[in-house]
Symmetry: C2
Subunit: 245 residues, 2 copies
Amino acid sequence: MSHSTLSPSIVVPSGPLSVLASCIDHTLLEPDVTGAQIERHCAEALEHGFACVFVNPCWAALSAHLLHGSSVRVGVPIAFPLGASTTSTKRIEAEEALRLGATEIDMVLNIGALRSGDRNLVEQDIRGVSEVVHSGGGLLKVILETALLTLDEKLVACQLAMAAGADYVKTSTGFGPGGATADDVALMRGVVGDKLGVKASGGIRTAADALAMLQAGASRIGTSAGVSILQGLSSPSHISSSRGY
Amino acid sequence: MSHSTLSPSIVVPSGPLSVLASCIDHTLLEPDVTGAQIERHCAEALEHGFACVFVNPCWAALSAHLLHGSSVRVGVPIAFPLGASTTSTKRIEAEEALRLGATEIDMVLNIGALRSGDRNLVEQDIRGVSEVVHSGGGLLKVILETALLTLDEKLVACQLAMAAGADYVKTSTGFGPGGATADDVALMRGVVGDKLGVKASGGIRTAADALAMLQAGASRIGTSAGVSILQGLSSPSHISSSRGY
C-alpha cells in the first residue's frame, strides 16, 4: 500500500495547510500548456509542498528535471482522457513515462468495454498497466470517469481495479461531462475500504470543494487550483469574498 | 499524394449524395462507446458509402473486421485528443493501429510545443509518425486544434505538417473549445495548396455546415452527423425545418 497517509475520516480545516498540500496533485493537463507554464507549475509545487505535479507525458522529463531532489513527485496520465487506447499502447506509454521520471501513473480505464459489459477486458487492461507500473516502482491510479457510469458500473470498476492491483481509484479526468462528487467519493471509498486510495478530481476549485472530498473519503485531491485553494484557507478575507464561507 | 479525389474547389450541392458521402469520415470517438454502437456505426458507413469510419484505437480491430472487403476504410486517432504524448508513444500507437487494420491515422500535433515556439519538436514529432504510417501503407492527417492557436501558429503548423510529410492537415479534434470554421479551412487550403488534403472537423452538424467547409476548400469532412447530413440533403422538408434553406 502506497497511498496517502491521510485516513478516510480526516478533517483538515484545523490542521496545518501543509497537510492539505501534501494530498494535492497539482495538475496542469491542457493540451496547449507551454514549457514556461510547466516551469511555473513545478515552482509552485515546490513552494507549497504538493504531493505531485500532474503533467502530460511530453512534459514528464522536464518536470522530473525541475523537481529532482525534492519531495514533489511527477505524475503522468495515460490514455488520457478517453481511455480508449489498446492495453499494449497503455503499457508502453506508462513504461515510457516511468523512464522519463514519473513515479505516479493515472490511467483511464476502458470505459467503452466497461459499458459493453466486458469485465474481463477492463480487468486485464488495468492489470497490464499495473504490472508495468509496479515493476518500475511506480504507483497506479485508475480513473473511472464517474460522470459516464451508472451506479453499478462504478461499483464494478472499483472491484476490477482492486482485483487488478491498482493503488488508487480516481473519479474523473477533468475533461468529461462532470467531475468529482462527494457521493461518488463515498461510494468508491465504501467499495475499496482501506485497501486502496481514493483520488477525487475534476471540478475541485475551492477549499470547500477540497475539504468536502476529504470528508467523503478521498485521500488525494487532483486539481489545477491548488494554490488558490491554499490561499483560500490561509486568508479569511479571501474566503469570505469568494464563496461566502 | 493519397488524399481525397475531390479538388479543393468542388461544390457538391448539385451532385449526387454519394459524392458527399465519399468525403465524410464517419466519426464515433466518445470514450463510452460500446461494441454494439461500433457495429451500428460500421453498418451505417457501409450503407451510405462513407470514406472511412473513425473509431478509437481499442475498436480498430472490430471495425476492420466488420468492414473487411468493403471500400470503407478504418481510421484511428492517435494521441487523441490532447496531442501531448511523446513522439515515441505516438509512433507505437500508430504502428499498432495499422497492424489492427486502420489505414488512416489522424494524429494531434504537439500543441504545447508549437505554442512554446519549438518548431523543431513539432516537425520531428509529425515526421516520426509519418514514417511509421507511410511504411505501413497508411495515410496521415495532422490535427492542428485550430481553436487553441493564433493565426501565425496555424500557418506554421500547416508548413511543418507539409515539411514533415503529412497527407492532410485537419482543423479540430471535436473535443477542444471550438471546431472547424470556414475561415480556418480557407487559410489551411491557402497554405497547403494542392499538395495536401484539408479535413474539416469539429461541430459540423448539418448539410449547410458540411457544404460551407467544402466550399472553403475542405477535401474531407469529419463528423458524427454524417447520416443526418445526408438525410438533410435528400429530404427537402427536413432541410427547411432544420436550418431554413
